[in-house]
């Protein structure tokens, strides 16, 4: 079974703090994604990565950065957390090529005070 794990299920941070969200997948997938999920807005793509050290902006990259130093790990960084970044963050991975299934982690619920 594909397993995508996220470092925390719940996080509470203060405005202005630097926040790291970690995601690890164990299936040697080339592609990894970070989404945020908000009621009524669905899943919105923040960043994705096709390979180590490669990254592409999604639809809402402002206020976020990412790092992919190893194939299995994809980190999302909030440089200076703000209250409007309170959300559920979901990581996903998939193989490259025609197989399109994305496998999601359980999510991290972030509250910025």
């Amino acid at each position: 079974d594909v397993k995508v794990t996220q470092s925390s299920r719940y996080l509470v941070k203060r405005t202005g703090e630097k926040v790291f969200l970690e995601c690890v997948q164990d299936m040697d997938h080339e592609n990894m994604f970070w989404y945020r999920q908000d009621p009524g807005l669905g899943l919105r793509l923040i960043y994705f990565s096709y390979d180590v050290k490669m990254k592409e902006k999604g639809d809402i990259p402002e206020g976020y950065s990412v790092s992919r130093e190893k194939k299995e790990r994809f980190s999302l960084i909030l440089e200076s957390a703000s209250t409007n970044q309170t959300s559920m963050y979901l990581c996903a991975s998939k193989v490259g090529g025609p197989q399109e299934t994305q496998y999601f982690g359980p999510g991290t619920r972030l509250l910025v005070l």
Partner: protein, 111 residues
């Protein structure tokens, strides 16, 4: 703008009934249309998917109907069960590119 429009936002169905969720898109380059199911506290998981060369795909009680000319696709859940209560997301993608998700439908199946 929303690339994939999903309706309804919420749905309540009696046990044994049929649940229907609809999605529409504009980008004719989309060629993969998955549906994801998400239970509370869990990440979304692939439920069923279709490519536009077929008009229908059925897996157990779950069926995707696809209308290429209308640029619409829908999920039908037959004989809905309380265990089907979850949030459902439709999505669309171009090969090798990002997925675009609908806004989600919260389904409640009452016994």
């Amino acid at each position: 703008q929303q690339q994939v429009k999903q309706s309804p936002q919420s749905l309540i169905v009696q046990k044994g009934g049929i649940s229907i969720i609809n999605c529409a898109y504009e980008n004719t380059a989309f060629d993969y249309f998955p549906w994801y199911q998400q239970f509370p506290g869990k990440g979304p998981a692939l439920l069923i998917a279709i490519r536009p060369d077929v008009s229908e795909k059925k897996e157990g009680r779950f069926t995707i109907s696809f209308n290429k000319s209308a640029k619409q696709f829908s999920l039908h859940i037959m004989d809905s069960q309380p265990g089907d209560s979850a949030t459902y997301f439709c999505a669309a993608s171009v090969p090798g590119n990002q997925f675009y998700f609908g806004t989600g439908t919260s389904l409640t199946v009452i016994p």
